[in-house]
Symmetry: D2
Subunit: 262 residues, 4 copies
Amino acid sequence: MPVKLLFIGDVIGKPGREALSRELHRIVDRHMVDLVIANGENAAGGFGLTEETAQDLFKCGVQMITSGNHIWDKKDALEYIKREDRIVRPANYPDGTPGKGTTIVKTPGGVKVGILNLEGRVFMNNLDCPFRCADKEIAKLKEETPIIFVDFHAEATSEKVSLGWYLDGRVAAVIGTHTHVQTADERILTAGTAYMTDAGMTGSFDSVIGVKKEEAILKFVTQRPSKFEVAKKDIRINAVAIEVDERTGLALNIERINIACG
Amino acid sequence: MPVKLLFIGDVIGKPGREALSRELHRIVDRHMVDLVIANGENAAGGFGLTEETAQDLFKCGVQMITSGNHIWDKKDALEYIKREDRIVRPANYPDGTPGKGTTIVKTPGGVKVGILNLEGRVFMNNLDCPFRCADKEIAKLKEETPIIFVDFHAEATSEKVSLGWYLDGRVAAVIGTHTHVQTADERILTAGTAYMTDAGMTGSFDSVIGVKKEEAILKFVTQRPSKFEVAKKDIRINAVAIEVDERTGLALNIERINIACG
Amino acid sequence: MPVKLLFIGDVIGKPGREALSRELHRIVDRHMVDLVIANGENAAGGFGLTEETAQDLFKCGVQMITSGNHIWDKKDALEYIKREDRIVRPANYPDGTPGKGTTIVKTPGGVKVGILNLEGRVFMNNLDCPFRCADKEIAKLKEETPIIFVDFHAEATSEKVSLGWYLDGRVAAVIGTHTHVQTADERILTAGTAYMTDAGMTGSFDSVIGVKKEEAILKFVTQRPSKFEVAKKDIRINAVAIEVDERTGLALNIERINIACG
Amino acid sequence: MPVKLLFIGDVIGKPGREALSRELHRIVDRHMVDLVIANGENAAGGFGLTEETAQDLFKCGVQMITSGNHIWDKKDALEYIKREDRIVRPANYPDGTPGKGTTIVKTPGGVKVGILNLEGRVFMNNLDCPFRCADKEIAKLKEETPIIFVDFHAEATSEKVSLGWYLDGRVAAVIGTHTHVQTADERILTAGTAYMTDAGMTGSFDSVIGVKKEEAILKFVTQRPSKFEVAKKDIRINAVAIEVDERTGLALNIERINIACG
Ligand SMILES: [Fe+2]
Ligand SMILES: [Fe+2]
Ligand SMILES: [Fe+2]
Ligand SMILES: [Fe+2]
Ligand SMILES: [Fe+2]
Ligand SMILES: [Fe+2]
Ligand SMILES: [Fe+2]
Ligand SMILES: [Fe+2]
């Protein structure tokens, strides 16, 4: 029996959450999804995640939340993340970081899926090596299940593609997040891992990667600090569906999803 | 009469050039292309452009070559670029830079198309403002033709999307290059400009953005300098076709192209 | 008659301002200073400048305030800077930036001194070329006076030293700011320009470049965002005194100043 | 009995090596130095270190060579560094990196001195955490000797000062390298560790941080890649002498050294 994972790209603020509230159940039905994972690092007003916004996502049908560099933006997250099993932050943050970088979740059908969140280092924070961290965390997850999903939250395409190949054959999928632009390179690599450089974002597309476009342009043109507000029009859901062989933990299919929801 | 532009993402070394040699005429026929533009910054061994490799591209049917940060990698380019009208380098390099940042080319049907090449600044070189440079260069090109194509060679999605919106309604297309990964966000913006964050690359996909994957991974894992060689297997052509209204210079259609050629 | 300029490195918050209030008149007397210039980008709580904190500096005896990347941190500065002639911000911010990048000030003895503020681009904002900007601004200032002082607010030593040599013989002094650590390389370059890579800071030295050391360390160790508060103990004034030939506008002497004031 | 350490800032190419050959014995005599350590990452033509150039440094009287990001520039170093006990590279390179990050050396008087080399991460390579690495390596060195010298090869002043305070009271000295500009902030921190943000460089000062100034300026002004040659005039030795209490391993004195040698 294949297991169907749905992974939703960075959810941006209330517009993103509302879109999921309206549409997610339909996507789940249409694609016969067993497990819904969403990147929630921008779910709270575009910057960070709070208990309230995470609960919002869970109510929509999200079962697991991954994150990235913005997970620390809201101070509450530091406490909340410790007691909420359904949220992971990048595993390659240093020892002592609140929360955890991996988890194992069960589908309604009883299949265990390991989730691993990693953050890139090129043009980003100075974290532990995501490649070595993956080696270590995957070994531990494999003791529990052959099926592992990796959200690699990173900027540089070279680092993302490299991790994809590095983990090829060892995990079900390596899907990138962080750039908020969906890439068209979804494929199954030669040893069986589904790969896609970026899942994109779920939020306003009448925007610059989710924030009001006038404010983003102003920052580039003035080179002065700028406030950023979440944009509200032309909402789309960016996601990717991955079918995994339950026995081998390798990918059978990968499908890019981009749904306009007004 | 609409004008059909074909823009080919960064051509990577000999494998990329050979793929174009075999397939480009077919793509041109199928899409009834009037003008072929290709980003050539990696055409010579993956780093830079030489007279010989540029001639190779012209022989394949490329009419105009755009470029980016790698255009200076081969020393010969500095001289060659001065006498070759069919190559542009980013217009926002400082005054005194060899070559030019814009040009006007005629389709076989006699329609003038302005070409503008720009380079981003986020995580890249310290160049003049691409937004202001675009204002200035577009004004000049508009004296000659309403049809302007922009290759924005940049890293950060925020900068690329911002320029798209900034130029919306003023040019036919803003197409990104440099990340070597094709994005799935091609669309016509609200005021009529075709936009796509990255056209992708033309070269080996059994690679990390065109170079041998073992070498790229080694660099990330060791953090030591590494040589990079062009990879050779699983060649694909990444491009985008844009239909432009000859009279208004705005886009009628944009279509992403990704062709496997072995 | 030589003119004696005193330039004070980045003043950090209230501790820095109070130190100047107590000690500046003594330094002015001892060094027979004609003109006091201070970098004020961190004068307001460590981040930015307000009308109130600027007035504080003027009351201490500062006649001109230069700045840098932090000048925009306090929103009020955007308006204030337009009507206050005694503040400059880096001249190589884009056209349309509030305030101005150069000014001419008269010493009590009636000698005109041109002040030019520039910001580096390496590891910093994406600004106009400071080298070309300097060429242009110096030409204008030279119509008024042969004596020009340059505060080059920059991170990379290579960029700072390069600008020093580039302007050697054309200005009285190129003094760096921004790193908050005083360098020991003060000298007069071969064509007569006084140069020093960084003037240092005026504030707490029981700190990490002015902020509480526990908070700075925490940020490096956790890689999470962190608040920064101005530190308060072990206050020192970092400055540099430059003697300039009134006729040639070239430097006769440069002296590094580092005064502990408790 | 105090132990006197002399640490020499980045030695730049042949001019730097020749200056040491002529002057080092004199400095050693004058300061009654027990152990000479030099940063050799630029000793071979400005980029990297070879067996020949390292031997040159040893002949001058250098007993231990530390390094930094440039240590990998010359391919030979990868092999040489494995069999040469007197060279360390930053300890926070990943597991499997050739060479070692710490060593213990004996002064002629028989006192053991632990040497730890670290590299910063801000604006540099993506390495392991230098703070945690220091914790671990210092614990090991402390089993052998109370006297530990740290060369922290880093760019950002904030990271360097932070490590100084982080290790205060645990090591004899934290001395920075990499910027090639000597800082004027040498001091003994409150718990007894000698600290200085940058030791400076040993090489040509008629240069931009050791390379020909025309070439460095050209790079900033053109934003194109540029070759860099070692400059040859106005040679100076930048160093720092630290007196350490043999029993406590804490610093008794720190003295900045800057010697012009023609
Ligand atoms: Fe995000
Ligand atoms: Fe992110
Ligand atoms: Fe490229
Ligand atoms: Fe590029
Ligand atoms: Fe500052
Ligand atoms: Fe600054
Ligand atoms: Fe160096
Ligand atoms: Fe270095």
